[in-house]
């Protein structure tokens, strides 16, 4: 009997799962009560001077508003910008790098090539560790993993002393060929621990044991650079949550779109650097799956930049080399491309009378002219206001108001210089902003080898819905899907994410029947690491292992990741692996070479521990024309038209209407161009289709 009562009580007891994502201006909350399916969201301004304080404020506010007891919070998932801000602001820990003597410039030379290669002023970023804190240790491993020179421990001792004297808080140890054999790094780490136990040490092969010395070293450096701040932040967060009586141990979102616990986050810091953008894509792919969409282009537009990502067959795409400020990150990350064009991008007329947009941005301060915070130059947002798409309701939860007159004045100045009507000028600004994004998205699509006409665009963030439909038209896309709460997609992404740990071994061997046993063995080792990792995360349920290989034709210098079926390994079917590679190569690059020798560079394994299965309520669809809240005048590109304005709250599943139209909601405004058919689905997503 007791047992039954407990079960009933448990069922009646609220079960809150909370996702929190910190962005540049706002901290977003997405909370789900698992029994009832009740969903709540909240945005609070960030407190950069005291990271974490706004989080507790928001949690308290949320608990009050939704009437729940923090003791009923069974899951708390957090994405934070502490790590990435540390790098962008260059406020990380002073570090020393121990590397091989003769190769001390590995991080300054990087891969030599630099962007902006037509400029005689081009340069690489200053390394995070200055050259006088790089110590060349006499030590050498051969490419086959045999030692040609053991570490000179006397040199290590001298280097530790100098590093300490110069204020190093931590040491990164990165030696050549540690991807093959990490014993030299390990022995030097042990020596440092003995000589200077107060210094933290990260070895390159521990952080990410992949071939290519610059990439491996810089990954370890990024990890060490943010370590003290991230670790301090997480410790404080754990204490604050505990103090509030929250039983859930905090989980963190990772750049790979998965989760890890806070304990791991304190030392595997590099894994969370891109967590915000990654969990946005995870949230988007979850929403897409729920809506039955499997090929998505996400679009998140902020004040200064726009982020894009592809979701193919329902899955986010992964890549390495994503930029953290000025530095590429070489661990697997959800691929997100970024361009410096956003709502705050400034329009100008150049010396030849040509209208341009960006690269300068009014950012969030002073912001667009229409915000009335001192911005005077015309921005993309001002152009939206002048055309009439924006400015009919409160923005950003009432924290912003729009002054149409200021926008008119700013755009009007450019219009006068161009000798054009102000609306036409505003429209031209929007066209240019969209074409800037077009370039980036086209590049993304060509790298991925996909045809965007088969994709649905999903705009989110505060600015995505503003320009999303216009970009979709430019790209020839036929569908746009706007989630009900575009402002908290990243927070939602954390809520629905799985535990995910990535493991890698560099093999560098030809793919053949004879190399298969070694490959199988490597996978077995990785699987064991994966199992151990999941257990350490507190996960004892079923685990899924995703296997893949990075392969290339001999002579190529870029490898591509190919998903493997475990049976191919078990059956020793090298031909099936080769076929999968040929097929992927064909898909990505329009050709393959059936006689080419294949080189297997890395084997990879992702250990996935599924999170709670969550589902949001579905509402029955009742087809009916939507009733507009009011009518307004908008310049739609050719002339001023009177169009409908809808309030998102009143749009019930099954509501239909057509563009041009404006949909307003508390955190964003959706501009819907002419020709679009709009409808609301059972999950309250707003769908646009453009019939050809």
């Amino acid at each position: 009997m007791d047992g039954v009562i407990t079960a009933d009580e448990a069922q009646n007891e609220a079960d809150w799962k909370v996702g929190v994502d910190i962005g540049g201006t706002f901290i977003d909350f997405c909370a789900l009560e698992a029994n009832s399916g009740r969903l709540a969201s909240l945005k609070v301004l960030t407190t950069p001077e005291d990271p974490g304080a706004e989080l507790m404020t928001g949690l308290t506010l949320l608990a009050e508003r939704e009437g729940f007891d923090p003791a009923h919070m069974t899951r708390f998932v957090h994405g934070t910008t502490v790590g990435i801000n540390t790098i962008i602001q260059r406020k990380g820990a002073p570090l020393a790098l121990f590397t091989n003597a003769g190769f001390e410039d590995v991080i300054e030379l990087a891969r030599l090539r630099m962007p902006d290669m037509y400029s005689l002023f081009c340069s690489r970023p200053d390394p995070l560790i200055p050259r006088d804190m790089v110590f060349g240790i006499p030590v050498r491993m051969r490419a086959d993993g045999s030692e040609s020179r053991a570490p000179d421990m006397a040199a290590v001792e001298r280097a530790v002393a100098v590093a300490k004297a110069n204020g190093a808080q931590g040491i990164i140890v990165s030696f050549l060929h540690s991807w093959r054999n990490a014993v030299q790094e390990a022995s030097v780490k042990a020596a440092i621990a003995h000589l200077a136990p107060e210094l933290f040490v990260f070895c390159s092969a521990e952080v990410w044991p992949v071939i290519r010395e610059y990439e491996r070293s810089s990954t370890a450096i990024l990890n060490g650079y943010v370590h003290p701040r991230v670790s301090g932040y997480l410790t404080a967060l754990e204490e604050r949550l505990k103090g509030q009586g929250v039983p859930a141990r905090p989980m963190l979102t990772k750049s790979n779109g998965g989760l890890m616990n806070a304990a791991e986050g304190k030392h595997a810091c590099v894994n969370m650097l891109l967590s915000g953008t990654a969990s946005g894509v995870i949230g988007a792919s979850w929403l897409a799956r729920q809506a039955g969409e499997d090929r998505i282009l996400t679009l998140d537009i902020g004040g200064t930049s726009a982020d894009f990502a592809l979701i193919i067959d329902g899955k986010p795409q992964f890549g390495t080399g994503e930029l953290i400020g000025e530095f590429p990150l070489h661990i697997p990350s959800v691929s997100v491309s970024s361009i410096g064009v956003g709502g705050g991008s400034i329009a100008s007329v150049d010396a030849q009378g040509v209208l341009r947009v960006g690269p300068e941005s009014a950012g969030s301060t002073p912001g667009p002219a229409c915000y009335g915070r001192g911005g005077e130059r015309a921005t993309v947002t001002d152009a939206m206001v002048v055309c009439g798409w924006l400015g009919h309701s409160e923005m950003a939860y009432g924290q912003l108001s729009i002054d149409t007159g200021l926008a008119q004045r700013a755009v009007g100045e450019l219009a006068a210089r161009l000798g054009r009507p102000v609306e036409q000028t505003a429209q031209a600004i929007l066209d240019i902003a969209v074409s800037e994004m077009f370039v980036e998205v086209e590049k993304l699509a060509s790298r991925a080898g996909v045809d965007l006409r088969d994709f649905t665009l999903m705009p989110f963030g505060g600015g995505g819905p503003m320009l999303g439909a216009f970009l979709a038209r430019e790209l020839g896309m036929k569908r746009v899907m706007a989630p009900r709460r575009p402002g908290v997609v990243s927070a939602l992404g954390g809520l629905v994410a799985d535990l995910r740990g990535d493991f890698i071994r560099t093999m560098f061997s030809p793919l053949s029947g004879t190399s298969l046993p070694a490959i199988r063995e490597a996978f077995e080792t990785l699987a064991q690491e994966g199992r151990d990792w999941l257990v350490a995360q507190g996960h004892n349920a079923a685990a899924q292992f995703n296997l893949s290989c990075d392969m290339r034709y001999i002579g190529q210098s870029y490898e591509i990741e190919v998903v493997l079926s475990p049976e191919w390994l078990a059956n020793g079917n090298a031909a099936a692996i080769a076929d999968a590679f040929h097929l992927t190569h064909q898909r990505l690059y329009d050709f393959h070479d059936p006689y080419g020798t294949i080189e297997l560079v890395n084997v990879r394994l992702s250990a996935v521990g599924a999170g709670p299965k969550l589902s949001f309520p579905e509402i029955d669809v009742i087809a009916a024309p939507a009733i507009p809240a009011r009518r307004l005048s908008v310049y739609t590109g050719v002339n001023v038209e009177t169009i409908d304005l809808h309030d998102r709250q009143t749009l019930a599943p099954g509501s239909t209407f057509h563009g041009p139209a404006v949909v307003v909601q508390e955190d964003t405004t959706f501009a819907i161009p002419a020709g679009a058919q709009a409808s609301v689905d059972r999950h309250l997503n707003l769908l646009l289709t453009f019939p050809e």
Partner: protein
């Protein structure tokens, strides 16, 4: 002509760039050879109906061809149909290809049975056959030794490759799979570009597209005019030297007289050396706007206005004069394979001329030796021959008006990429001993020149052959400006610091035996401004970082460092009364000594003498004159040497006396 809507131009430019970037990504990711993938020695472009480039990628590929016109090459093929692709690698047909390994392809883009544009591009083939592997060597003397040449012809007919051409190529080159793989990848990229242009035509309309493309060219032209207008009118002269005009021979001098008048400029290269009996010639065909001649100009324009559109329109305000039979306009059958080396010097000549026009806005000389190192050795485990590209060894950028030169590479070498040591050592049986920056190699200055790169590796098999192409600056230093000093020299040494040391100077090949170590160092970037004006803390920081030695801090900068700290008193004492050096340039002692013998007037006399000879006599006569210059100098010395040459070779044609030539 209707003026294309100024508010739509950036939209069109963005679509054009998206198409070009798309092509570049397609090629880069699908190519087979390291040349295309790692060195990124390729270009792709969109061209207008006449074959003039109107868009290039900004992120991938080489930086040489935004102003390339395919017009002449296009005209050499008849009857284009949809799906056709034409190609050539012949430097003497149409002046598109500039050495035999560069294979250029172009494809018409049809809309309604009419060609509205072209897509094109080039790849550097690993080998095109001929006398030496990779088809490139300074020692070659005529184009026929540099591999098989295909004059402009169709490679793909209505979508179908001409198998005959592929078979001929496969039979004549050393790595046919790489060539054909890369060519197919480039065809894929051209197809991508074609699709994108067709989409642009749908968006902007056919007439709108054609007008818009013309407007993009006009816009770039207007931007270039504006940059020129921002410079003072005037004439500036500058000369620079490649160390050698052929293997272990005499310097090769390039001379430029730059005249800026209003918004136009003339680049007169008259007075540059006669065409060479080596492969260092630059085949411009005398085209006054050949892209090879103007690469340095692109850098100058882009540096002064980073918003400039890179297309053929940029070239319109410029006129280049390159006398026929000179190194910058050789006649058939001069070899041209190693023109990259000369092109690097050509860029530094242009930088030097513009540096005098706008000294406050441009940097000092970049290292200017984009050396590509290849190794051929035997893998002792498999007894297999391995041929691999090792790293490029390039030097730093010149010191800028506002900061130090970029270390290790930069300026006009920024597009080069290195290969990780771990990858090279895994694929190739060599062991690196060092790869990093060379101390004291950057020119001293208020702003220091970028440091050189230094690389050393060991081989394990007998008769391992190394080539280090495009090495230069082992004698003539990258110059400093406005009181800044010239940079360190490049060098190549076998077994440095041992009894078996062999200093190779500017030699670009070496044969190594087991255990031998080869050290290659590039030049550095020139310095800018008086080094005694550099803040002592920066000098001390450079010393702490190993960029300069304490001795150099004292000698070059007048900063005394004791025990890691600046000795302020000693520094002030040392710096007191130091006058900044006079003159716009600092060339270093080697050139200063050389030019006491080879004065500008001596060169004028030399060219007066040589120009009077038939082209095929000139290089021979130059070499013979140089042989007789010992103990001679100035124009009289040249004349006396020439007289001696005439005496020795009475067959030498002497059309008329030239005594009255410039003194």
């Amino acid at each position: 002509m209707p003026l294309f809507d100024r508010t739509k131009l950036q939209v069109l430019a963005n679509h054009a760039r998206a198409a070009a970037e798309n092509m570049a990504h397609t090629l880069h990711r699908t190519a087979h050879s390291a040349f295309v993938k790692e060195t990124q020695d390729f270009t792709v472009m969109l061209m207008d109906r006449s074959g003039a480039t109107f868009a290039v990628p900004m992120e991938l590929g080489a930086t040489w061809y935004p102003g390339l016109s395919y017009r002449c090459a296009i005209a050499m093929v008849d009857d284009y149909r949809p799906g056709d692709v034409a190609f050539t690698n012949d430097p003497y047909s149409g002046h598109v290809a500039t050495h035999a390994p560069d294979t250029h392809l172009w494809k018409p883009v049809f809309v309604d049975d009419e060609i509205v544009a072209w897509t094109g591009g080039h790849i550097h083939n690993t080998d095109m056959g001929g006398a030496v592997p990779a088809s490139l060597s300074r020692a070659l003397t005529e184009i026929h030794q540099e591999g098989i040449r295909f004059p402009p012809m169709k490679l793909v007919n209505e979508g179908v490759f001409d198998e005959m051409i592929l078979r001929i190529m496969s039979t004549n080159v050393r790595k046919p799979d790489l060539n054909i793989g890369d060519i197919k990848a480039l065809v894929g990229a051209l197809n991508t570009g074609e699709r994108k242009i067709q989409a642009m035509v749908r968006k902007f309309g056919k007439a709108g597209f054609v007008e818009g493309v013309a407007a993009l060219l006009d816009h770039a032209e207007a931007q270039a005019h504006d940059v020129l207008r921002s410079m003072p009118d005037g004439t500036w002269q500058f000369a620079d030297y490649a160390d050698e005009d052929s293997v272990e021979a005499n310097p090769c001098r390039l001379k430029l007289r730059l005249t800026i008048k209003g918004d136009e400029a003339v680049l007169d290269f008259t007075g540059s050396d006669p065409q060479l009996g080596s492969s260092l010639n630059v085949p411009s065909g005398g085209d006054p706007r050949h892209t090879m001649l103007l690469v340095g100009v692109y850098y100058v324009l882009y540096t002064l206005n980073p918003k400039i559109l890179l297309n053929t329109g940029l070239t319109r305000p410029f006129t280049c004069i390159t006398p026929q039979g000179s190194v910058l306009n050789p006649v058939y059958p001069a070899a041209v394979g190693m023109r990259s080396l000369t092109c690097a010097r050509l860029r530094s000549v242009i930088f030097g001329a513009f540096s005098q026009a706008v000294p406050e806005r441009l940097p000092a000389a970049p290292a200017g030796n984009n050396c590509i190192v290849n190794v051929m050795t035997t893998d002792e485990r498999t007894s297999r021959t391995v041929i691999a590209a090792v790293n490029p060894v390039v030097g730093g950028g010149g010191a800028m008006p506002h900061r130090d030169g970029t270390n290790g590479s930069g300026a006009d070498a920024a597009y080069l990429k290195n290969t990780p040591i771990e990858i090279t050592e895994t694929e190739t049986p060599v062991e690196f001993v060092r790869y990093g920056l060379a101390r004291d190699s950057g020119g001293a200055g208020r702003w220091r020149g970028g440091l050189a790169t230094e690389m050393a590796f060991r081989v394990f098999a007998p008769d391992s052959r190394i080539t280090a192409r495009n090495r230069d600056r082992s004698f003539f230093r990258p110059w400093g400006v406005l009181g800044g000093k010239a940079a360190g020299l490049s060098d190549m040494v076998v077994n440095p610091g041992t009894a078996h040391e062999r200093r190779l100077g500017n030699i670009d090949t070496a044969v190594l035996q087991p255990g031998d170590m080869l050290e290659i160092r590039s030049a550095g970037g020139g310095g800018r401004g008086d080094p005694h004006q550099r803040e002592p803390w920066r000098v001390a920081q450079d010393a702490r970082r190993g960029y300069i030695s304490p001795a150099a801090a004292e000698r070059d900068y007048g900063v005394v460092i004791r025990g890691g700290e600046i000795d302020e008193q000693a520094t002030n004492l040392l710096r007191a009364g130091k006058e900044p050096s006079a003159g716009h340039f600092h060339f270093g002692p080697e050139r200063e000594v050389y030019e006491t013998q080879w004065t500008p007037a001596a060169y004028d006399r030399l060219h007066a003498v040589l120009d009077a000879l038939p082209i095929h006599w000139r290089f021979f006569a130059k070499t013979e004159i140089f042989r007789r210059m010992k103990g001679r100098s100035g124009p009289e010395g040249v004349q006396a040497a020439f007289d001696a040459v005439c005496e020795r070779f009475p067959e030498l044609p002497r059309p008329r006396p030239i005594r009255e030539a410039a003194e």
